[in-house]
């Protein structure tokens, strides 16, 4: 047992965005967070990562994350926000190196260990060759990989990644999911929000489905991603198939007749 969210609710500007969300995330597990736009996925992730005031609790191995300092939290949970911001033409190496910030004391340089962890994270995300390039000059997909390498370099037991696969080409989408799986085998818990249903079904151990701020379903992909569920949560019809690697979900149409 690792990360446990209990009855987490978030209110923003008087609106309930997340309501009573409870779920858990064990070490060694990749959990996909799915749901239509506006379902509250990002808000829930930000609340757990400690960026938003919320009711309920998110705790790691029994310690309430909200009571920790920002620094203590940063050593336990790495959060990759959805917005990909790289403000200055920093080198890829420096961007990834920022992930080591919670572990370095003030005004101390990088240790050998820091360098090794960064190099490993860059290898994992296939950006090692780009190390000396200014990150702002890379393509969107390359930047996405650099930024997740930064989160990986933070070397935390929990990694929360908000839509890390959007904008990646199919090969790199799979490379990235494979990398996350590999990280999970190193005793980490990974929560990743995704829009690609097939990607979620084939690479996640478990999926948590959100709709209107609430958790609608939680379980193994095969059990959750049923036609009924896709219809009620996403409002779509999908062609569902299986092969050796797992499920294939191809959305084919919208459900429900829009009344005239």
């Amino acid at each position: 047992m690792s990360l446990v969210a209990e009855r987490v609710s978030v209110e923003l500007a008087g609106r309930r965005i997340v309501e009573d969300a409870s779920f858990s995330l064990a070490r060694g597990e990749v959990v996909g967070l799915l749901g239509p736009n506006g379902a509250g996925k990002s808000t829930l992730m930000r609340a757990i990562a400690g960026h938003l005031p919320h009711s309920g609790s998110a705790s790691l191995d029994g310690a309430d994350l909200a009571t920790l300092s920002a620094l203590e939290r940063a050593r336990l949970v790495a959060h990759l926000p959805q917005a990909r911001v790289i403000a200055w033409p920093l080198s890829v190496r420096n961007v990834v190196g920022l992930g080591r910030m919670p572990w370095r004391s003030f005004a101390r340089g990088f240790s050998e260990n820091d360098r090794a962890i960064c190099a490993e994270a860059m290898e994992l995300m296939d950006v090692g060759d780009l190390a000396d390039r200014p990150a702002t000059e890379l393509s969107g997909g390359e930047q996405a990989r650099v930024l997740i390498a930064r989160a990986v370099a933070q070397d935390t037991p929990v990694l929360i990644a908000d839509e890390p696969a959007s904008g990646l080409d199919p090969a790199h989408q799979m490379t990235m999911m494979a990398a996350l799986r590999r990280l999970a085998t190193k005793d980490r818990a990974i929560l990743v929000s995704l829009h690609d249903l097939t990607l979620a079904a084939r690479w996640c151990d478990r999926v948590v489905l959100m709709r209107d701020g609430r958790i609608a379903a939680d379980g193994p992909p095969a059990a959750i991603l049923t036609p009924e569920c896709l219809q009620s949560v996403f409002g779509i019809v999908a062609h569902i198939d299986h092969d050796r690697g797992g499920m294939i979900l191809a959305p084919t149409g919208l459900t429900g007749d829009t009344p005239p």
């Binding site: 930000r46 990562a49 400690g50 960026h51 300092s69 920002a70 620094l71 203590e72 939290r73 940063a74 050593r75 949970v77 790495a78 959060h79 990759l80 926000p81 917005a83 911001v85 790289i86 403000a87 200055w88 033409p89 920093l90 080198s91 420096n94 961007v95 920022l98 992930g99 910030m101 919670p102 003030f106 005004a107 200014p134 930024l147 930064r150 989160a151 933070q154």
Partner: protein, 329 residues
């Protein structure tokens, strides 16, 4: 170029310009005599000129320049915005207004630190307003427009206070408050401003690490363990102290904080944190050089030093806007 080598070179440049500033003036003193008088005493007139007239001038140019360069680098890093600068976003103008209010109402005579306190309050208020408007969802455009509004408002209020003063000289002094000068300042001004500026710099240098994390956005920075409230307070207090205390004794000097970070950034690894010291040193060098220029360009009829920095900075500002037009709109 390595970081320490860059800083060393900039230090040498600042030192050279500081010496030049000490050696240039209407009284044509021999360089060796004047330096001897400065350090060891000697001829009364030379000593007074060096210690009471040129030294405060050079110290203020160095310190105010350092503060402006540093604040420019901090604000650009904090707001992730290449056009951020105390002058452009209205902090200097607000500090000027605060100082003017305190000075011309006579409060400045009442207490030693009343004058910088007024300027500090003005600067702090403007930074708070700007952060409220522009830091969260701020596009460059929002920030610049807020700055234009704040600058105009503070400038208008400054004119108002000066025009309402019964002292006929007051209304001419708007030039000083809007364009700045380090001419004929005294060591009193140094003692008023320098301790506060030093405190401000310490706070700002302390924020450097957080600024590195801000390169990836506020949320990512928070996720890297940056205490957002603390950082915001450091930046507000640090900028208010540096810009406020400086403006209280030299008026508002523009564009130093804009130009310098852009000039030195390519020489660094571009991390906002590693830009702080070089920007401060660069700002000191620029303001010292500009203050030497005003003494040389029109001898006997000195320009305000802000005229020179604006002549350098405003075209640079335009060039930056043209270059980053797509990002702004």
């Amino acid at each position: 170029m390595s970081q320490s080598r860059l800083n060393l070179l900039l230090c040498l440049l600042v030192l050279a310009l500081f010496l030049a500033s000490m050696l240039i003036g209407p009284a044509r003193l021999g360089p060796l005599d004047s330096l001897r008088a400065l350090v060891a005493g000697g001829d009364e007139a030379t000593m007074i000129i060096m210690r009471e007239i040129r030294l405060p001038r050079a110290i203020l140019a160095l310190a105010v320049g350092f503060g402006l360069g540093l604040c420019g680098a901090v604000l650009q890093g904090f707001l992730r915005n290449p056009l951020a600068e105390p002058g452009i976003i209205g902090v200097s103008a607000a500090a000027s207004f605060g100082a003017v209010l305190v000075f011309y109402s006579g409060l400045a005579g009442a207490a030693f630190y009343a004058l910088p306190a007024g300027a500090l309050a003005g600067a702090a208020l403007s930074v708070v307003i700007l952060l409220a408007i522009a830091a969260r969802h701020g596009s460059t455009l929002t920030l610049i427009l807020s700055g234009v509004a704040l600058t105009s408002l503070a400038g208008a209020l400054t004119s108002l206070v000066l025009n309402l003063s019964p002292n006929p000289f007051a209304s001419y002094e708007i030039i000083f408050w809007l364009l700045g000068s380090v001419k004929d300042r005294s060591m009193n001004d140094v003692w008023i401003a320098l301790p506060l500026m030093l405190a401000g710099w310490a706070l700002l240098v302390f924020s450097g690490r957080a600024l590195d994390a801000f390169s990836l956005g506020e949320e990512a920075a928070a996720g890297l363990g940056v205490d957002m409230r603390r950082t915001r307070l450091l930046v507000i207090a640090g900028v208010a102290l540096s810009v406020g205390a400086g403006t209280a004794v030299t008026g508002a000097i523009g564009f130093v904080g804009l130009v310098v970070p852009h000039l030195v950034r390519p020489l660094t690894d571009r991390m906002p944190g590693s830009l702080l010291l070089p920007s401060g040193l660069g700002g000191a060098a620029l303001l010292l050089a500009a203050d030497i220029a005003v003494r040389i360009i029109v001898p006997g009829k000195e320009l305000n030093v802000g005229v020179v920095t604006a002549l350098i900075g405003a075209p640079f500002f335009l060039w930056l806007i043209v270059r980053s037009r797509r990002e702004i709109f």
